[in-house]
Assembly symmetry: C2
Homo-oligomer: 328 residues x 2
């Protein structure tokens, strides 16, 4: 009755091909406008190295002509010298990643050759209708020497046909990893297994790794992540204490508690969470499972209305549910 794995691995074994990516600064930055103290980012960098995490995402490479630099912390822009002020030459096994949104990054101007950057990987975030633009960015980053991923957002609103075409196009691109993203936290494990199998099939056909980035609107981010892992998804996104927009992400402490790879060391994550996360909450950052996010998840909506509901300190859940239904 249990799901058969496509690669060897049981609850007591592990796949060395699994990679864990810490997205705390990038997805968590959406909570606090990227206003992280340097001390926090340095402690996170050290914790990730000690815990055996494979990648750390430093933030976005946003276009300064589109976003006012005075309104965001520096990790919205990920300048090379800002990264170096944290990691030096990054003499560690931890690789560094940066996200670039289609249409919000001046990649030809702002992304320099890998030889001149501490970054190892660019993650291209795209909607399904901007895949051609995403592929142009992938090719650009690939030529500059970076590893690349593509994160297709809002797939719960795409048709199966659209997704098939997208995976075919991306399979033929030089991208290394194709990410399954549950943007609205609307996907149940049963559906997630079907979608992950589709991605894995495309990945096997074109020699691409598959990743997962889950949201916790229905308290399913961890469940969806480990269910996908069992099928062969190898790149796993997580954040400290699940910090991320709205209901947040798969929590690093849950994920490292589950993975059996001996390289991963949970106590270093626990120490970081213990020492660093309370102050972040005291400073006003709000995230995590709550009923408004559950409702946007159930209804397959963007979490923005739930974020607003919580920011306004409203608690009239029944009215909010009706407002969401009235938008149909």
């Amino acid at each position: 009755m249990s799901v058969k794995r496509e690669e060897p691995g049981t609850l007591l074994s592990f796949r060395p091909t699994i990679k864990v990516l810490d997205a705390t600064i990038r997805d968590g930055g959406l909570v606090n406008n990227f206003a992280f103290r340097d001390e926090f980012v340095k402690a996170l960098y050290q914790a990730n190295i000690a815990a055996g995490v494979d990648y750390m995402e430093m933030g976005y490479k946003a276009d300064k002509d589109i976003f006012d630099e005075s309104k965001f912390g520096k990790w919205k822009f990920c300048r090379e010298d800002d990264i170096c002020s944290i990691v030096g030459e990054n003499n560690s096994p931890l690789k560094l990643a940066c996200m670039a949104d289609v249409g919000r990054t001046n990649y030809e101007r702002d992304i320099c050759a890998k030889a001149n950057s501490p970054l190892d990987m660019y993650r291209i975030a795209t909607y399904i209708n901007t895949i051609p633009a995403a592929i142009a960015m992938i090719e650009h980053c690939h030529k500059l020497g970076y590893e690349t991923t593509v994160n297709i957002m809002a797939i719960s609103n795409a048709t199966e046909k659209e997704l098939d075409i997208a995976l075919e196009l991306l399979g033929q691109s030089p991208v290394d990893v194709i990410y399954l993203v549950d943007s609205y936290g609307s996907i149940y494990p049963e559906e997630m297994r079907v979608i992950a199998s589709k991605y894995l099939e495309a990945g096997a056909k074109y020699g691409k790794q598959i990743g997962i980035h889950a949201h916790n609107n229905q308290n399913l981010a961890f469940a969806n992540t480990i269910e996908s892992t069992a099928l062969g998804v190898n790149y796993l996104d997580a954040t400290m204490s699940g910090m991320g927009r709205g209901a947040g992400n798969c929590a690093m402490e849950l994920l490292l508690g589950f993975l059996k790879n001996p390289k991963y060391k949970l106590p270093h994550v626990l120490r970081f969470v213990e020492e660093q996360m309370p102050r972040l909450r005291e400073e006003g950052a709000v995230w995590g499972y709550d009923i408004p996010y559950l409702l946007t998840g159930v209804l397959n909506r963007h979490p923005s209305s739930a974020i607003r509901f919580i920011a306004e300190k409203r608690t009239d859940f029944v009215n909010f549910y009706q407002e969401l239904l009235d938008q149909d």
Copy 2:
């Protein structure tokens, strides 16, 4: 690749055989020593009726010779007249349940004939080594006219052989429903599907329904509940806002957001949560996913040490993890 269901039902259809049980007063009572205000219990009773919930568990039938009545609220003891003061003659489709622990209930003295009680169902909670005593209680309650369930606790510490024997014994008893209980919140969905299949096989052999009672230590209570449901588990425990010992249970609002049965009406649950749960938290009740519960779940331990850690307002997670490991 998706798990095949043993009964018809897809994400857009539903099984009329599904029954939802609200365990807020019983499992939630472990958080606040059953000190619920009558107004709260009445509002919960009304909300459950309006939401289409099938069963409401009123509390425990604990033995007054073992537990000091002055130290617990009345729902620890579930006297018939206390129940009637809330529900009158219960002229509603909502059935009422009560839990009786093996060794902690004087069932021959305290459980009266169904004709003289507003209760419809007794739920017998047992460890695997007290199954014979549980069967005596099941037979007693069955003869008195009640529906019965048996909830086998702490199965993550039982051997497969022990569980096989227990299911055979219970299959031959008059019990109506056998509950799969993840007492420590230690079971992953992949394991849960295997265990649920084992219970369902025994249930099919002996004509018993299977139920699930999940805990949220690893944020998996909802995922494990709906994964079991997809395989044919029909009796589903949930509590308002997930209220329950330690990390709590599967949240009713998550479960009713998922179930497609048109009889279930989420807004009535949302209204109850909105109007009643904040005051309960203000009164000092503490429950819900937190790192200490994650750690007891990962290590397959009783949550008591995590509950103590949180009650003492400790936040040194690394030390706590080492303390748990040192107990091995």
